[in-house]
């Protein structure tokens, strides 16, 4: 089954074309890494997929549903989860509270006004199980703003996973991390279930080639190359603009 189908998507900001005729398609369970220099349009493409910005033209569908015009929350309810390039968490809340909200969102527990959240045993259990599974139990009661950057990145990944999404978008999950922290986050990505479709933006070549089933290279708003590791390494245009001439 096709998980994500992007057809001829274009996005302009005023006169600036950020995306030009992008067409990509992912099968269920496939892992695609987006490569490309800064300003290539990778994050714009992510935002168009998650609904944070709407495509100017073209069509995006998720498991057969046309989502081109849907707001981000509706796309999330269809099983799409994401992390942000700039960490986007609830800074003044604890790690546990952050994960609890993610679980509430995933289980569509909204507009419940009476019973305290502490008394929803299934929600609490699920959140604690997630913290245990991803080794964040010790940080449960710490405020997110007091965590290290690496820990925040991990919380953000766990948050995206808490709804058992069918498709996960990771926007540079290892950017700005120390080598040790990068290993930890990559370990998390490796542990993800194989049937989860993943799109990831990544600058680190080794990480990209290790994770990806397929790689798409973007440049100036277009996809200029697509294929497996060998195809990308052997592509002259990619070498010139991105990998540098070796």
């Amino acid at each position: 089954m096709i998980a994500l189908d992007i057809e001829n998507v274009t996005k302009s900001f005023g006169g600036v074309r950020a995306l030009t005729g992008v067409t990509l398609s992912l099968n269920e369970g496939e892992r695609l890494v987006l490569l490309g220099p800064n300003g290539a349009g990778k994050t714009t493409l992510f935002h168009s997929i998650s609904g944070n910005i709407l495509a100017s033209s073209g069509r995006i569908s998720l498991f057969g549903d046309d989502i081109t015009q849907l707001p981000p929350d509706a796309r999330a309810r269809l099983g799409l989860a994401r992390t942000f390039q700039i960490t986007n968490l609830f800074a003044q809340l604890t790690v546990l509270e952050n994960i609890l909200l993610a679980v509430c969102g995933a289980q569509k527990l909204t507009f419940k006004f009476v019973r305290p959240l502490d008394r929803y045993d299934d929600i609490q259990k699920r959140a604690r199980a997630l913290l245990e599974e991803w080794n964040l139990v010790d940080a449960a009661d710490r405020l997110v703003r007091n965590l290290s950057y690496g820990e925040q990145r991990q919380v953000e990944v766990v948050m995206a996973l808490s709804g058992e999404p069918r498709i996960l978008l990771l926007d540079e999950p290892t950017a700005g991390l120390s080598p040790a922290e990068t290993l930890r986050v990559m370990e998390m990505v490796r542990k993800l279930p194989r049937d989860m479709t993943i799109v990831m933006i990544e600058h680190d070549m080794d990480v990209a080639f290790e994770i990806a089933d397929r790689i798409a290279v973007m440049h100036q708003g277009r996809v200029i190359a697509e294929g497996d590791e060998a195809a990308i390494r052997g592509n002259q245009q990619v070498s010139d603009i991105y990998l540098g001439v070796e």
Partner: protein
């Protein structure tokens, strides 16, 4: 949990005993404090929990009050209809303002709420034939709900019951999944959207709930003073309640309650010395933002509480 129940029982006992201890003047001052406690808590649901700073909250307080005043004085309507109508119409006004104001965020949201509230004030001030204009509407008699609430003691108990029940409802709301979602929205709207929450609907609901409790406070206020004038809708009222929330501590329900008590007591004390209450209020605001930006509750947590969050 047991300590909490003890504190609550003690508070109930103290508040129930007050009419037997306090002279009438201070009892009616306590009634006024309770009304503003509710008003300030209602605003904090919006500011402290949802992250929407409104400078027009007096619109709902005053509109609820005017509905009661007009129905009682002009329409001779029963209190069984007037009070629910006051709350219901303030809630409806809240829904209308929410639709208009939620298009903006931050200081623009603040300005829109201010402008909308000024419209309501302008109508109350200008429509003399209906509202009495600047002279207001005197003669709003206290209601009779089974027993007459005309004297200070029974009216105090009525207000205590209303504010107590409202406080319980607000506490339940902020601890519920809905209340937690509001905190999430305060921290990051885009993150909440990415988690599948319909942010606008949550903000709308918070705004309307907040307006409903502010409307109830306004109705009680008008019954308390037996008089309604454009003063209840004035921007100074909106600013005053905002300062109560900030002084007490944004994002807690106890904070605004303490802030309301401090401001009302201070106002009472200052008015015996000088006419320049607004000057004093301004100084209170400046001192709070300089030395206790997270309010009195924040100050207490910083210096005395051991179990503050790491």
């Amino acid at each position: 949990m047991r300590r909490y129940s003890l504190v609550i029982l003690l508070a109930i006992a103290i508040f129930a005993a007050l009419p037997y201890v306090l002279p009438t003047y201070y009892l009616s001052l306590t009634t006024k404090i309770l009304i503003f406690v509710l008003f300030a808590m209602s605003l904090d649901l919006l500011i402290g929990y949802t992250g929407l700073a409104s400078l027009g909250h007096a619109a709902f307080f005053g509109f609820g009050g005017y509905v009661v005043g007009l129905l009682v004085v002009r329409g001779q309507v029963s209190e069984w209809i007037a009070l629910p109508a006051g709350v219901a119409l303030a809630t409806a006004l809240g829904a209308l303002f929410a639709v208009l104001a939620l298009r903006a965020r931050g200081s623009y949201f603040l300005m829109i709420t201010l402008a909308l509230a000024q419209v309501v004030w302008g109508i109350a001030f200008g429509w003399r034939t209906l509202t009495g204009g600047d002279d207001g509407l005197p003669g709003v008699k206290r209601p009779t709900f089974i027993v007459s609430l005309a004297d200070e003691n029974s009216f105090y108990y009525f207000v205590l019951l209303m504010v107590g029940l409202s406080a319980l409802a607000l506490v339940a709301i902020v601890r519920s999944p809905f209340g937690h979602a509001l905190r999430g929205i305060r921290e990051s709207e885009t993150r909440m959207l990415a988690l599948g929450f319909n942010v606008w609907r949550h903000q709308f609901a918070a705004f309307v709930i907040s307006a409903a409790f502010a409307g109830l406070a306004g109705c009680l206020f008008v019954y308390n003073t037996r008089f309604v004038s454009p003063d209840v809708l004035h921007v100074v009222r909106s600013a005053e309640v905002l300062i109560m929330v900030i002084l007490g501590g944004v994002g807690t329900l106890l904070g605004p309650a303490i802030g309301a008590a401090v401001i009302i007591l201070l106002e009472d004390f200052v008015s015996s010395l000088t006419q320049r209450w607004l000057l004093i209020l301004g100084i209170v605001y400046v001192v709070t933002t300089l030395f206790a930006p997270r309010g009195l509750v924040g100050l207490y947590r910083d210096y005395f509480s051991r179990n503050r969050k790491r």
